[in-house]
């Protein structure tokens, strides 16, 4: 910004107002801007410091451990049949669970925020519930319901449907543990948005579906985006619940996280870290893709 004039008091506290700037010829607006900038840098330092310790250091450590023996071992580890199968299986499960949870999430958010009925609180709690249960217990409860000796076990066997120890069970487990995100991300944005625009649209004759597509959805898009990102990240990284319902059958029901565990058990640190890096890249890729999609869709609409 501008250079300081003579006799300017150094503003050290982040929220000091313009009253602290003293001295002749000091533009209060400039001083305010300077203290605002210092405040911003101070907050940025706090945030980045926290993130450095808790996020950047672990990520760097993971990349270091992965590539510490060179690129070739990593490539070999990433291209084994088991690794490749685990990759595609993880993607397949995510490709099913995430859209389902997204549709459910938007619908539930609309219901909870705009609907009028008794028991909303209970419904909200129900959605959060599986998330508060330890993943291992989630897996256990799914086996209690859909397993061979479970509540629906006999009926499922009659229909010839295998849920537990097969992909459908893993999809259900993944969906359960990642259920609340789209709902929780969308509701605050819905609330912030308010109903004015929607009501205006309806008085102008728009159908409910049109209102939803042209007003509501663009309005909540960032909540949905981050909800999808969180859901995908959780679905990708889920281990506990899936490990119980998958049966861990190599190259059949082994997702990437299960594969990471498998490599770790076999003293194959490079293999484990490589798979972890792949997961990390998938998560980052999801965020970038969602960002791109949203901006492109948004570009066409009038804001």
């Amino acid at each position: 910004m501008s250079s300081s004039g003579p006799g300017t008091a150094a503003v050290s506290t982040p929220f000091a107002g313009s009253r602290a700037a003293k001295g002749p010829g000091i533009d209060p607006a400039r001083a305010r801007a300077r203290s605002a900038r210092r405040r911003r840098i101070g907050v940025r330092t706090v945030a980045l410091g926290y993130l450095a310790m808790l996020l950047l250091a672990p990520v760097l450590m993971i990349f270091y451990r992965t590539f510490e023996h060179g690129l070739a071992p990593v490539w070999n580890a990433a291209t084994t049949p088991s690794a490749e199968h685990a990759f595609w299986l993880s993607l397949e499960i995510v490709a099913i669970a995430v859209p389902l949870n997204t549709a459910f999430g938007i619908g539930m958010a609309l219901l909870l925020e705009r609907g009028r009925f008794w028991g909303k609180a209970i419904l909200g709690l129900l959605i959060d519930m599986p998330f508060a249960i330890s993943p291992v217990v989630v897996g256990l409860s799914l086996v209690l319901v859909y397993g061979k000796t479970g509540w629906l076990g006999d009926w499922l066997a009659e229909q010839g449907i295998q849920v537990i120890f097969s992909v459908p069970g893993m999809v259900i487990a993944t969906a359960v543990v990642s259920l609340p995100f789209v709902v929780r991300e969308t509701i605050p944005v819905l609330r912030e948005m308010g109903t004015d625009a929607e009501q205006a649209a309806e008085t102008l004759g728009a159908s409910r579906w049109q209102t939803f597509l042209r007003i509501t959805l663009p309005g909540i898009r960032w909540g949905v985006v981050y909800g999808v990102v969180l859901t995908t990240a959780r679905a990708l990284g889920e281990f506990g619940a899936v490990s119980i319902v998958s049966g861990r059958i190599e190259q059949q029901t082994q997702t990437l996280p299960l594969y990471v565990q498998d490599r770790f058990e076999n003293f194959d640190a490079t293999g484990a870290y490589t798979a972890a890096v792949v997961l990390a890249l998938l998560a980052i890729g999801t965020l970038l893709a969602m960002n791109l999609l949203t901006r492109r869709a948004h570009r066409g609409t009038v804001d």
Binding site: A47, M61, L140, G150, V189, T195, L230
Partner: protein, 264 residues
């Protein structure tokens, strides 16, 4: 929006209901049923087991500490991500979800390497109660941040600018305008953090040492009971943790609803 007043709405609600039943209602019911086998006497005995009580207490206290830290730092981070600009910001933003996408075993190994014996930064908290807080902070990092970010992105700067031009100090703007608007999002993120913290297992097993009565979390105790065929005990303790989480979530929802009534 008039949802559910016509046929299409009913179908939608029906689908939502089926989805919820398959995914949540049935499994939770099965869990409750399992915890009740043996009657209330057995249930009480299982959850008043001294080791169980210690594990539950550790989990709940650690979770409260973690969500408090998350509420503060998560909001600050979200603020910086939305309102600030610096080189590398988009990279940092993209990384925030990583603790979530990484399998918990990787989180455990890495945290142990970074903040255990032989730590490159000289911090050794492994096998202490602090390690429980550390692991939980790691896995719940994205929640408050990602809850607040969308709201901040949609926030109309006009109100803040108006207040500032009327002479309000930045602190007042923060307190009177921004925080109340962010409150529901922060609360939502806190709720998610708490729920995750209470149930977290994988990242804790390596760095805490799982010493009963000292660093054994509720989820680890539950896992031990499952391994011993003690499904009823495992289910019982799970139910207790679940109830605690629901209480907190319910309280947060209540606070959130009351707050929203006061926002202009």
């Amino acid at each position: 929006m008039h949802l559910g007043t016509r046929g299409g709405g009913m179908l939608g609600k029906g689908l939502l209901g089926i989805y919820l039943t398959i995914l949540v209602l049935l499994p939770v019911a099965a869990l409750l049923a399992k915890s009740g086998t043996g009657g209330t006497h057995a249930f009480w005995r299982e959850i008043s087991n001294p080791e169980a009580v210690a594990a539950i207490k550790l989990t709940l206290i650690a979770s409260v500490i973690v969500v408090t830290i998350n509420a503060i730092f998560g909001t600050i981070i979200a603020w910086v991500m939305v309102r600030d600009e610096f080189p590398g910001k988009s990279i940092v933003n993209a990384l925030i979800d990583l603790p979530f996408a990484l399998p918990t075993i990787v989180a455990g190994v890495v945290l142990l390497a970074l903040y255990g014996k032989g730590s490159p930064v000289g911090i050794d908290v492994a096998f202490t109660r602090a390690s429980v807080v550390l692991a939980l902070l790691f896995v719940t990092l994205p929640f408050v941040v990602r809850s607040v970010q969308p709201v901040l992105l949609e926030l109309d700067l006009a109100m803040e600018e108006a207040a500032a031009s009327l002479g309000a100090s930045p602190l007042t703007v923060l307190r009177r305008i921004v925080l109340p608007t962010l409150a529901p999002a922060i609360i939502s993120g806190v709720a998610l953090s708490f729920a995750r913290a209470v149930g977290e297992f994988g990242s804790l097993v390596l760095i805490t040492g799982n010493l009963p009565f000292k660093t054994e979390a509720g989820s680890v105790y539950i896992f031990g009971q499952i391994s011993n065929e003690n499904l009823a005990a495992a289910a019982a303790v799970s139910v207790v943790l679940l109830l605690a989480a629901l209480l907190v979530l319910g309280a947060l929802a209540y606070v959130s609803r009351r707050r929203s009534r006061h926002v202009l």
